[in-house]
């Protein structure tokens, strides 16, 4: 835990890496949204839940580190790069 993600230098490799990471985190977050017991455990003790996921192979160390970082915007960046682009929702005002 507390590890910094190791990123490759090659652009294509980097894109594949980010998409794969986004996929793993997306699957975990979707499960978190659906499973009340898992959500409860996660709220109580994020480290233990993530540790079990890493040990089970569903998440990598760098995924857990990202989910334990101080700033959620890094998670958002990874998720956005590895997914369909989101357009900002802005009301039409004039």
């Amino acid at each position: 835990m507390g590890l910094e993600p190791i990123k490759p230098d090659d652009y294509d490799e980097l894109r594949d890496y980010e998409q794969a990471q986004a996929g793993r985190i997306r699957a975990f977050l979707a499960e978190l949204a659906k499973d009340d017991g898992l959500l409860h455990d996660y709220i109580e003790d994020r480290v233990s839940v993530l540790q079990r996921r890493v040990e089970g192979g569903a998440l990598f160390n760098e995924d857990a580190a990202l989910l334990l970082s101080d700033d959620y915007s890094r998670v958002y960046q990874v998720m956005s790069k590895g997914s369909q682009p989101m357009r900002w929702l802005v009301i039409w005002i004039v």
């Binding site: 978190l32 989101m86 357009r87």
Partner: protein, 258 residues
């Protein structure tokens, strides 16, 4: 009533924790779910709840006028209702707050004789009150979309709190993937007509993920610039001074003077 119905729900802001049980049941049992959410994990979660979930983002072309995009979304939602389906449209946050196509779709469906309702959800403003410890009843609270605030010259009461939404896209009228606060300097200049430059304001973003704190950046109003802002930022301006008591009104109401 014609067959086919529309229910509009909100996902709340935070993935997994804000979705109401009512919304979850409606989503699970819909013939089709049309979703417009601001976080990819949220889209995945909706697809887990109901595999017949489709994103409305495809109808939101970059650079296109938002008015056209919203009309296209409302039409797509109602098109599914016309086919006799039980349609649930899911929007990020509260579906009725700062979401034009949800209201448009409901009005359109009702005008065509279909049952159409909206369910409440957790909005970004609800998160702001909780995270910043602000009670809108204490000082009063003014709430405007940032560009709307500028172009309509909304009046400010500096004795009440002021919340300005979408400062990350202030001055922009097209769909975008990135922050475009082209009018931020104009917004700051306008606010400086009412508040001193050292008045501390808060740039706020609710966390979309459980376990993370919100993003809270405090800065003097005169120093507020694009570096403090992201596409999802909201500006909270606290009251500058207490509102004066109207003693005559206290007397008229029979309330004791302090």
């Amino acid at each position: 009533m014609s067959s086919g119905s529309l229910t509009v729900v909100g996902t709340g802001i935070q993935l997994g924790t804000h979705l109401t049980r009512e919304a979850a049941v409606l989503l699970e049992n819909a013939d089709v779910v049309l979703a417009l959410v601001a976080e990819p994990g949220m889209q995945a979660a909706l697809e887990e709840l109901n595999p017949r979930t489709r994103s409305l983002h495809d109808l939101y072309e970059l650079g296109e006028s938002r008015g056209e995009a919203y009309e296209a979304m409302a039409e797509e939602i109602v098109r599914q209702v016309r086919e006799g389906k039980t349609v649930v449209a899911a929007f990020y946050g509260h579906p009725g707050v700062f979401v034009a196509p949800s209201h448009a779709a409901i009005a359109k469906a009702r005008a065509e004789g279909y049952e159409a309702t909206m369910r409440p959800a957790v909005s970004a403003e609800d998160c702001l009150f909780a995270d910043l410890g602000v009670d809108p009843s204490r000082f009063g609270c003014q709430s405007y979309e940032a560009t709307d605030f500028l172009v309509h010259r909304r009046r400010i009461d500096p004795t009440a709190a002021l919340v300005l939404w979408q400062i990350g896209t202030v001055g922009s009228t097209v769909a975008a993937e990135t922050t475009q606060p082209t009018g931020l300097s104009v917004l700051v200049e306008t606010l400086l007509e009412h508040y001193p430059p050292e008045h501390e304001v808060t740039v706020y973003e609710a966390s979309p993920y459980p376990g993370f704190d919100p993003l809270v950046r405090r800065v003097g109003l005169g120093m507020l610039s694009a570096e403090h802002v992201t596409a999802l930022s909201t500006l909270y301006v606290p009251p500058l001074e207490p509102a004066p008591l109207d003693l005559t009104m206290l007397d008229r109401l029979g309330l004791p003077r302090p």
